[in-house]
């Protein structure tokens, strides 16, 4: 038995008997759901770019964003979050380990470069989502930021953005179909399916589905 057959048999053997609903297949596995994801992606991306842009504002000396004045605004935000230790009345942070982490960053003066990291991270995540380039990776880093802001005690729009990003991550194969991922993913590939650029393609790879075909579609049998 060759490796591909064995993998296929194992997949069938251990597959759950509960079938996937049609809507799940449509949204997460069918490229025809691309218009839906375009709307979701653009909406989420705009939120991130707008947030990053408001934090950038280095030209606005009176009302600068995070990066203005050596990250003073971010330091102020951290000061607010760290004002009361976890367990105290009105504490913003619940977990000791996150409190210690944030305190370490603030006391070490790391807000100066962290302000740039957050600002450009937000803009990069937003652009990745809007243009559909490494969509799921962008959404993943978006969730990391949402997660961090929430741990620091800021709810705001973070739960909604987090939930939306999770959906985009689940739809990583279809969310960027109407975007750059349609061309980038087949070129770069994945760790489990070689692309055109990374890794040398062989005919048997196409046959076994180990390489994404140039068209980006499902390999023919």
């Amino acid at each position: 038995m060759n490796n591909a057959t064995e993998k296929s048999e194992n997949r069938n053997r251990y597959q759950t008997p509960v079938k996937e609903p049609g809507i799940a297949h449509f949204l997460f596995g069918d490229t025809r759901s691309a218009p839906v994801w375009l709307v979701v992606r653009v909406w989420l991306g705009l939120q991130w770019v707008a947030a990053g842009w408001s934090h950038l504002k280095i030209w606005d000396f009176n009302n600068g964003g995070y990066v203005h004045n050596g990250g003073a605004s971010l330091k102020g935000y951290w000061d607010g979050a760290l004002a009361i230790a976890p367990g105290g009345t009105g504490a913003k942070i619940t977990y000791d380990w996150y409190y210690d982490f944030l305190k370490f960053l603030r006391d070490g003066g790391h807000y100066e470069w962290f302000a740039w990291l957050i600002t450009f991270g937000e803009i990069a995540v937003g652009l990745g989502l809007i243009f559909g380039c490494f969509t799921a990776v962008a959404a993943f880093f978006g969730t990391i930021m949402n997660f961090s802001f929430e741990l620091a005690g800021t709810t705001s729009t973070n739960p909604v953005l987090f939930g939306t990003a999770i959906l985009i991550i689940l739809a990583w194969r279809t969310a960027g179909w109407w975007g750059l991922d349609r061309y980038v993913l087949p070129l770069v590939g994945t760790p489990w399916q070689r692309g055109k650029v990374l890794g040398k393609n062989k005919k048997e790879d196409y046959d076994t589905g180990n390489t994404i075909p140039p068209t980006g579609g499902i390999p023919s049998a």
Partner: protein, 144 residues
């Protein structure tokens, strides 16, 4: 509902139908600033100018949308215009994305009514025109 059932339900959508909805969408873009009274939104005075910008944007995008939509309807029985009809359909998709981005591009994302109105209208444009264009593209690929 299975995937095929869902697709069959939408199979009656075509460019002429999209054009009809586009006319309604364009009218909505023109009328809605007055329905929501963008120029008298309960916000700080400095945002009033942004409210009138949103009204102007609704007017311009509405007229463009109606023009494209009427073209889609008028050229229904002209096979030689199919390429331009397809371009018109895709332009409605682009218009939808533009409408979603417009509140941020023109700096009135802080005005709740224009923000939600334009984003929802844009989303509907992308969903309907996008779905129809995708179906047409797939059909063209099958028949060629």
């Amino acid at each position: 509902m299975t995937n095929d059932m869902m697709l069959r339900r939408f199979s009656t959508l075509n460019l002429t139908f999209t054009g009809g909805l586009g006319v309604l969408g364009g009218l909505w873009l023109i009328v809605s600033p007055y329905l929501f009274d963008y120029n008298n939104l309960p916000t700080a005075a400095k945002f009033v100018e942004n409210g009138s910008n949103a009204t102007l944007l609704g007017l311009i995008t509405g007229i463009i949308t109606i023009a494209i939509s009427i073209f889609l309807i008028a050229t229904e029985k002209m096979p030689q215009m199919q390429l331009y009809r397809n371009i018109g359909g895709w332009l409605l998709v682009v218009m939808g994305v533009f409408l979603m981005a417009a509140p941020y591009l023109f700096n009135y994302s802080m005005l709740r009514d224009p923000l939600w109105n334009l984003q929802l209208t844009g989303a509907v444009f992308v969903l309907i025109a996008g779905y129809v264009m995708q179906e047409l593209t797939l059909r063209d690929k099958k028949t060629s």
